[in-house]
């Protein structure tokens, strides 16, 4: 195959950038959580691409990816629970509405 490692890294970089853009600009808290998942996925793609292309002796890359996936899942669960808790108070998931703390 002729696809070099750089292609995968750039792809991961673009996905990370898309995720970051979404996390910073979108106001809907659930979309922000989804965007954060995108950022995690970009990092996982990096790990697997490096692991594959550099033929590292150990399976560290895959291990790292497994841990990253499980942690990302746990984190999104916590995030959604917090969104539900906030929704109880505001009847809205808009980040802009959440502003009783100021200073």
């Amino acid at each position: 195959m002729t696809i070099p490692l750089g292609h995968y890294l750039i792809l991961a970089g673009i996905i990370f950038a898309i995720g970051l853009a979404g996390a910073l600009t979108r106001k809907n808290a659930i979309i922000v959580l989804i965007a954060i998942e995108l950022m995690f996925n970009a990092a996982i793609l990096n790990l697997i691409a490096f692991w594959h292309y550099k033929q590292f002796a150990a399976l560290t890359g895959q291990m790292f990816a497994i841990f990253a996936i499980s942690i990302a899942a746990a984190e999104s669960a916590i995030g959604l629970a917090l969104v539900i808790a906030i929704y109880r108070h505001y009847k809205s998931v808009d980040v802009d509405d959440i502003k009783s703390l100021k200073g």
């Binding site: 600009t25 809907n28 989804i34 497994i66 917090l82």
Partner: protein
Amino acid sequence: MNVHDTLFWFFSIAMLLCGVFVIANRNPVASAMALVLMFLFMAGLFVLLEAFFIAAIQVLVYAGAVMVLFLFVIMLLDIKASERRRFAFLGVFGGIVVAGAFVWEMRIILSQPVIPLQSGNTDLSAGLENVVKPLFQHYMLPFEVTALLLLVAMVGVVLLSKKDLK
């Protein structure tokens, strides 16, 4: 162009389109569905990279469990599509800065010497057995800590999303 290359281009372009759709769409349900597609294409890339176990996990955990969670919460809260937003100057400025940083990073990646693929090391891409073994030996500690983390997450989710009886 062989099959592998064609698949790479297909998966990556489809994935980027889905990614843009995820964050640009105003309807959260549509966003979540695009995310499922994106996760599936990503799993396809993992297969191309011979990480079959991760590909399976990607489909099971992300496209399966996490997405159901997201969709469930979206439906539960009955979130409507957000209305069109005003032009956010700060957001656009931040976006330009971030985009600039990534263009700079791309230049760095492209300037790296091309890393050749060495001949396939068969025991790396071998079956499930090899992949999970380190979890119980070398990476025992993070594995156990992840168990604690999932427990805490479970306790936390129950606690946070439960309605307190007065």
